[in-house]
Amino acid sequence: MASTSTRAPVGLSSVTRDGIGASPRRPDGTLKVTGEFAYSSDMWMEDMLWGATLRSPHPHAEILGIDVSGALRLPGVYAVLTHEDVPGEKRYGLEYRDQPVLAFGKVRYKGEPVAIVAADHPETARRALERIKVDYRVLEPVSDARRAALDPDCPLVHEEGSLPLHEEHNQRGNRVRYQPIRTGAFADGASVEEVRALADVVVTGEYEVGMQDQAFLGPESGLAVPAEDGGVDLYIATQWLHVDQRQIAPCLGLPADKVRLTLAGVGGAFGAREDLSMQIHACMLALHTGKPVKFVYNREESFFGHVHRHPATMRYEHGAKRDGTLVYATMEIVLDGGAYASATPAVVGVASSLGIGPYEVPHVSVDAYGVYTTNPPCGAMRGFGAVQACFGYESQMDRLAAELGMDPVDLRIKNAVSQGSRIITGQEIDMPMPMAEMLRRAREMPLPPDRSSLPAPSDPRTLPGGVANTSHGEGIVRGIGYGVGLKNLCFSEGFDDYSTARVRLEVVGGEPAVTVHTAAAEVGQGLVTVKGQIARTELGVERVTILPSDTRVGSAGSSSASRQSYMTGGAVKTACEAVRERVFALVRERGLVEDGHPDALLSLSGGKVVSAAEGVLISLADLLGGEAIEETREYHHRPTQMLDPSRGQGSSHTQFGMCVHRAVVDVDVELGLVKVVALDAVQDVGKVMHPQQLAGQIQGASAQGLGLALMEEIQVHDGVIRNPSFTDYLIPTILDTPPMRIDVLEHPDPHAPYGLRGAGEPPTLSSTPAIVAAVRNATGRPLTHAPVRPEDIVGIDPPQG
């Protein structure tokens, strides 16, 4: 494989700047700091209308009738549409097509869209909503996910026969997916009692993870513009343009090429933009009125407008020998998928396969359920099923360490996976996995100074409760905890989530210039920067333009699963290589090297073609003249397998990533307040593409894990969200977030481009259990619920609500 060297070639003063491994500025950075970067909510057109959505006030109800006449009579209202106006398919969905564009027959969660309006002012649109009359017959909500999973008499959320069944997922009744895994003696039919006899020490635990919100800052929004050809152009903040297109077009009754999507500025995503929100609604109204229609959700609506992280209940049992060697583990996890499937099947696939984490355990039994309820739909959020499991298995490791009287880090090291280990699905970890080394490094990182050695130990800003002045240092106890998380990277279980890149090399104004075009969603992570770096490294050209992402080029797959540097990075690299080959062919054609001259001895650097032996052969400007070289390539990762539906075996994952966290907390044990003092991470990323952006990913992910550990939970009671606002749903502020030291390792994955490993998710896993472990360490409380609530710390029962 030809590759550019990192040394300056003969005859060149320096290598190409701002390639991979450097930290060039984001190409969209200047626009983002001047306020000119156009987010989806900033789209504006002369004559555009404002869309608004009427949502169900009930979690579960039959729709007896909808009367829109009052709304239609309001001046300024251009259209009021219901399910009857959906031109094509009435349902869509990421994995199962079970979600109505607009509710018909029944509503299955509070907040489900029932009707949509377009008007000349957002306030007019909102008033029109109030004039739509919907007649409901309220039904009993199906709120208890465990009952939905296990009780055959539980009422059904989706009527029998109303959906095509997915046998491969053991879909039945309210079960969206049931995935068992059996290894060792469990695979041979042994009972837990029999296996338990093999262990000296047994610990059990029940854990819960609350419903977390992605809480991106830029709410759902977009602008649909009707086109002359009867199609529609949609400017949208999403994570995957082509999967949106694939779901929108059939519902509009249009061929895919009549539904053209362009990525508008995305204000964060974290999984919440994997599903559709207002896309089809905006297109329907635009096509109906013949005018551009813009939707912008406000924060409250945003809580109803996207899926959340699945709340989970977990039951674990671990057995070990006296020396700490794990013998067996059982896990049962119930993931509440809410009213529609969204990504639930895939989340179950991750939660089950990674259910006992990065540990060698000979006998394992896992039962993972993803279920329908009439709670808010849950789907993708950073960490995707692995976050919930990680809180469970890491809590268990600490419990086991305590039971054995062993150091929790030593226990983890003793049972750690490494390259060549097999996870419980039988899949080999065929890439470096230096978990033991990572744990040691985390333990050896310098600790923050003791409170007593602070210059002003009673400065409230350094204390739990902060400037609320709840303590001056009395009742404060420090704790330390560790967490390790194993995450699959890229899509799993047979998905071919390829990416496509088009790369063009030409001479502009006497200088070589590269254009990179993909459909990949820049959601803030910095993929735009990395695409440019790869082009510079591969083509030796500094001037790189990243075209806006749209559906005029092939799919890039989703900005999810930490996969874009790998997949779209891989596509850009491959397309660049194809361009480079054509440059070299041109060099040969021109007689600049002899015919048999191997490509491996040629490279591109500093805008020149360079031979290893002779130095600079020719500048790209002279070689190309007026000719442009353009190549489009798809990049596919290696194929993966479905888990078999009865024993959960199969090489389902593309790549594994790992992060280790050590958290240090100060806890006000009287008031139950926590201040995280330090949250340090060790992560192996295979290859650092952009050190600064990598740090941003690790720190951002760690902070989201902190949120889940200590504050973030959507409160749902009988299907009703009680806290849909930033006043009541708290995410970490700059005062809640500690300094975060990072130690990055680079053991390359031989299967991945540049050896890189997706980096955005693993820290979201490990940060939560590390912080909760630290709070346990400080308080001695069991703390089985994430987020930890003050009443859990002080030991009183939570208020019943």
Partner: protein, 173 residues
């Protein structure tokens, strides 16, 4: 209703303003200044932070009518004026890009204004570069979901140091 005020040094007038419209709405939807962001409309996130007569406010909480006759400065008014290609970013803007404090960037406009204010109150008043605790306290009303705030703190420090160096050295840092 008609509302007239000054934005980034220019007199502006918005007509047909509804009584319930916020300053943020008028800036974004009526005056073509979408730089200030709406992430909560409840004063909880700081994405909409602007200067109103020199004081930073959440523009989502200010009724448009309250801005009548007053001076507003938004993120669009932080950089030196001039055409896009030539225009120089302010030290705060420059530092945010350079330090990697911008990911999705939705929080950025509000953070830039609030940081500008912090530097003005400290370095700008002849004081020293704010320490970490001061930075955290001053930015406590600005949520960022992407960065974990570490790079934001780096950026604030960098901008403050450069502004101080510029002040002390008399020239651009």
């Amino acid at each position: 209703m008609r509302v007239s005020f000054e934005v980034n040094g220019h007199e502006v007038t918005a007509d047909n303003v509804w009584p319930g419209e916020s300053l943020l709405y008028v800036l974004r939807e009526r005056l073509g200044l979408p730089g200030s962001k709406n992430a909560c409309e409840q004063g909880e996130c700081g994405s909409c932070t602007v200067y109103l007569d020199g004081v930073t406010v959440c523009s989502c909480l200010v009724a448009a009518g309250q801005a009548q006759g007053r001076a507003v400065r938004t993120v669009e008014g932080l950089a030196e004026s001039g055409d896009l290609a030539e225009r120089r970013l302010s030290p705060v803007q420059e530092a945010f890009v350079e330090a990697g404090a911008v990911q999705c960037g939705f929080c950025t406009p509000g953070l830039l204004v609030q940081t500008d204010d912090l530097i003005e109150r400290t370095v700008g008043q002849g004081g020293g570069v704010p320490d970490e605790a001061e930075i955290r306290e001053h930015l406590a009303g600005n949520l960022c979901r992407c960065t974990g705030y570490e790079k934001i703190i780096d950026a604030v420090r960098l901008a403050a140091e450069r502004t101080a160096a510029q002040r002390d050295g008399g020239g651009p840092a």
